[in-house]
């Protein structure tokens, strides 16, 4: 009787840990499945799945902006603009992140089935 923990406690603890593990796996995997890459350029729009590798050349006023979708990440390796802000933005991967090339009018944004921006705002919570 005078015990701090018994076998049933260990069973409960392990069961809870397993449930949390499985839930976490489900939640974070499904989150990335639903994500899409939306590209707006010069009045046209394209949508690609973020989990299929692809290399795209998006036409804009200055020429073609190269957009690469690779292993769930999206980045712009090259664009015919002068300041290359879009190139230096680097890789994006989460819902709500975006890359923009203003000179060539290309807007790349990751969207998902999740609500706007997809991330919980700690402050608002």
């Amino acid at each position: 009787m005078k015990q701090i923990m018994k076998r049933a406690d260990a069973v409960i603890l392990i069961a809870a840990a397993v449930i949390i593990g499985v839930m976490s796996f489900q939640i974070y995997r499904n989150g990335s499945d639903a994500a899409l890459v939306r590209i707006d350029a010069a009045g046209r729009q394209w949508i690609y799945p973020v989990d299929q590798n692809d290399q795209l050349f998006i036409p804009g006023p200055l020429g073609h902006t190269e957009v690469v979708i690779e292993d769930g990440h999206v980045h712009i390796p090259d664009s015919p603009c002068t300041n290359k802000i879009c190139v230096s933005t680097g890789k994006i991967q989460r819902t709500g992140q975006w890359i923009i090339c203003l000179p060539n009018d290309v807007f790349v944004r990751i969207e998902g089935a999740l609500p706007e921006d997809g991330e919980v705002d700690d402050v608002a919570f």
């Binding site: 015990q3 701090i4 409960i12 603890l13 976490s24 919980v120």
Partner: protein, 180 residues
């Protein structure tokens, strides 16, 4: 179990004392800085778990209500929607802990009961958050929320078990119950 009138008065004092203890612990929890707002320690559940050992179901429900009410006052959420989350979470955890204690009290220590209670409370709150506030996005905070809940529940459960095993007050009470 019927109590004499003096026994009933003693019992009411004990419920009030445990309720006050929960209020005090809610205050302690309030002043502890937390890295993220949804992280909770659940200190106020300590007297609620101690109450499991000798209260009847109705008395236990009263104690649980005192705890929720006290937390609402201390955290300043009594008349806000946050109070509904607190109430929902506490109701789920209290019911689950009571069932666990009554059904498996011989085989389970307070570590297991605290884990069950924390899990029930957190799942109820996540469910409420999903329905009323964030939609499916609520599940994104579930893993860190549940993991911190699990850790604090184990620590609090160990402490409660230690208290229940070593408290002379509780031992004297159980002696008294046996003598009646």
């Amino acid at each position: 179990m019927s109590l004499s009138s003096s026994g009933r008065a003693v019992r009411i004092h004990e419920i009030a004392m445990l309720g006050a203890f929960a209020l005090f612990l809610a205050t302690v929890e309030y002043v502890i800085p937390k890295p993220v707002p949804f992280m909770r320690i659940g200190l106020a559940n300590l007297p609620v778990m101690i109450g499991l050992t000798f209260l009847t179901t109705r008395e236990y429900a009263l104690l649980a209500f005192l705890k929720v009410f006290g937390q609402g006052i201390i955290h300043g959420t009594l008349f806000s929607y946050v109070f509904l989350f607190s109430l929902g979470g506490s109701a789920a955890s209290v019911v689950m802990m009571l069932i666990a204690y009554r059904l498996a009290g011989r085989h389970v220590t307070f570590v297991g009961i605290a884990v069950i209670g924390a899990f029930a409370s957190n799942m109820a709150q996540l469910f409420l958050a999903r329905v009323f506030l964030f939609g499916e996005g609520a599940w994104l905070i579930a893993p860190p929320f549940l993991i911190t809940g699990l850790i604090t529940a184990v620590v609090l459960g160990l402490f409660t078990q230690q208290f229940v095993l070593s408290s002379r007050w509780l031992a004297a009470k159980q002696e008294g119950v046996r003598r009646d």
